[in-house]
Amino acid sequence: MTDAPMVLAERVSKNFGTNKVLRGISLEVDPGEVLCIVGPSGSGKSTFLRCINHLERVDGGRLSVDGQLVGYRQKGDKLYELKLKEAAFQRQEIGMVFQRFNLFPHLTAVENIILAPMRVKGISKAKATARAMELLERVGLGDKGDAYPAHLSGGQQQRVAIARALAMDPKLMLFDEPTSALDPELVGEVLDVMKELAKSGMTMIVVTHEMGFAREVADTLVFMDEGVVVEAGPPREILSNPQHDRTRTFLSKVL
């Protein structure tokens, strides 16, 4: 099963009431691949990302991560919704980074990072702390371990958030517009960490508006609009020679 895709989506759909947010998304992400998703706001990019780690329930189609159906268990030809505990177990393999960082403000950077490894995986505090310091070093914040989030800049907070996600040793990292809430001069430091992570072989799905990052780092670029994948392929091709009108219109606005 070495060639099995890390993420396999087959006609995934999702509704909020009568509002069809995803209308059949099909795509594949191989292990070690970096996939960037771009598209206008409201196109369903974030919702799709949240479906991958079951923060949102998938309503139709099939979505699996590392060969396992997300949120459901198949027995015979029937699907059973997973228990909360089983869903949580699935999420251990998937790290997520949010647009607004969502660091825990009452905990220091190190405490933010060690919380889940200690409580979910039962790792000792000493071990978890040592690992947290390693990760902080890796994102360039080795000296900020004792700082509370309120005393860190947005870029530093987002890098701590990345370290926090990495502390669970995920096989897949999801980034939901990780630089959209940052001041322009802080975007670079976060993108650098993500580039390093991509180089280390991490499988990543990145919803972003940073076309430069997509061009440089992504293996595949996906353009989504109104809940469907309009166009997908190598980023250089799509950015320089978009095939669809919708892609062209969007790119003309953001480039």
Partner: protein, 345 residues
């Protein structure tokens, strides 16, 4: 628009433009780049009525105090006699424990009710709503009277299947113990208010926090315990402090049960014998004031502890603060904090 107006204001100050040696209109901004801007020297607006009212109030207060000090009905010698009376201090102790037990019960039940109201289960939601509706909608005095006679309605507790021989039968000893009845009555009433406070606190925590915690594979219980509740505490603590102070005073209503070993009950009992009601009311009030003052100090320290990471408190050796705060609350009239406020007593 404001430029000419401010110029006029300065010009109207007599002699000022002459003293500085140049006209204000041309002077400011261009030539004074190095020198600091001139300060405005103006006669401040007077508030004569403020002073008049203040003087009248102080005078009135002084007259009242002087009069009260000499009036025999206040019985100041009796106040001095009973303030440290053993019966009074023991009753104060009872009041303190009534408060502590009732609040612990109220917080536990309140937390449960708050979680029930936020649960997706409509039955749990409705039950919590009904509870709050009843216990917040009826007077606590009436509730206490009811709990006082509940042992007449239910003389025995039985456990078993309806219409069959009960498995276990216990005589109702809970509601024949008046102290326990008082704690239950106060706690059940207060729980309705506490649940609303806890609910507001839980709702104040950003949805993203729960999401981030869930994405880290933490269970609902872990998310609540390590992420949501610690942050909700910042919102919950201040009004809870008010509730504790309020509860301390509400304990005087246990007379409705009727329990009469609390601070107010005992001072009333003494005055019924000595026919000196006013001095004993003063004695009770001074003890209530002492306790509420101590609680205010304790609340201050606890609030400081739970505002960590919000930028309002400098990070540092924080773990030291819960120590004194924790001892200040149940410790009662202990020397370090007690003396500051003990001066009133």
């Amino acid at each position: 628009m404001s430029e000419p107006e401010s110029d006029r204001m300065i010009e109207s100050e007599p002699g000022r433009s002459g003293a500085s040696g140049r006209t204000p209109r041309a002077g400011r901004g261009r030539h004074d780049d190095d020198a600091p801007p001139e300060e405005i020297v103006a006669i401040p607006l007077r508030h004569p009525w403020r002073n008049v009212v203040a003087v009248l109030l102080v005078l009135g207060l002084a007259v009242f105090v002087l009069d009260a000090a000499q009036r025999a009905d206040y019985g100041w010698p009796d106040v001095g006699k009973y303030i440290f009376d053993r019966r009074i201090s023991q009753a104060a102790w009872v009041t303190l424990w009534l408060t502590v037990y009732s609040m612990i019960g109220a917080i536990v039940i309140g937390l449960l009710l708050a979680i029930m109201r936020l649960s997706p289960n409509p039955v749990l939601k409705s039950i919590a709503w009904l509870y709050i509706w009843i216990f917040r909608g009826t007077p606590v005095y009436v509730q206490l009277v009811f709990w006082g006679i509940v042992s007449l309605i239910y003389p025995v507790f039985t456990l078993g299947i309806p219409f069959m021989e009960p498995w276990v039968t216990i005589p109702n000893e809970v509601f024949t113990n008046l102290f326990i009845t008082a704690v239950i009555g106060l706690a059940l009433n207060e729980a309705a208010y506490m649940s609303e406070i806890v609910r507001a606190g839980l709702l104040s925590v950003d949805q993203g926090q729960e999401e981030a915690s869930t994405a880290l594979a933490m269970s609902w219980g872990q998310t609540m315990r390590y992420v949501v509740v610690p942050q909700a505490m910042k919102i919950i603590i201040p009004p809870t402090g008010n509730e504790v102070i309020s509860m301390l005073k509400t304990t005087s209503l246990v007379a409705a049960i009727p329990l009469s070993i609390d601070l107010y009950g005992v001072s009333r009992g003494i005055s019924a014998v000595t026919f000196t009601p006013v001095p004993l009311l003063i004695v009770a009030s001074l003890w209530y004031l002492l306790f509420t003052s101590i609680l205010m100090v304790g609340q201050h320290f606890i609030e400081k502890r739970f505002s960590r990471g919000t930028g309002r408190v400098k990070t540092g050796k924080e773990p030291a603060t819960p120590g004194p705060a924790a001892t200040a609350v149940p410790g009662g009239p202990t020397p370090p904090i007690g003396t500051d406020f003990g001066g009133k007593g």
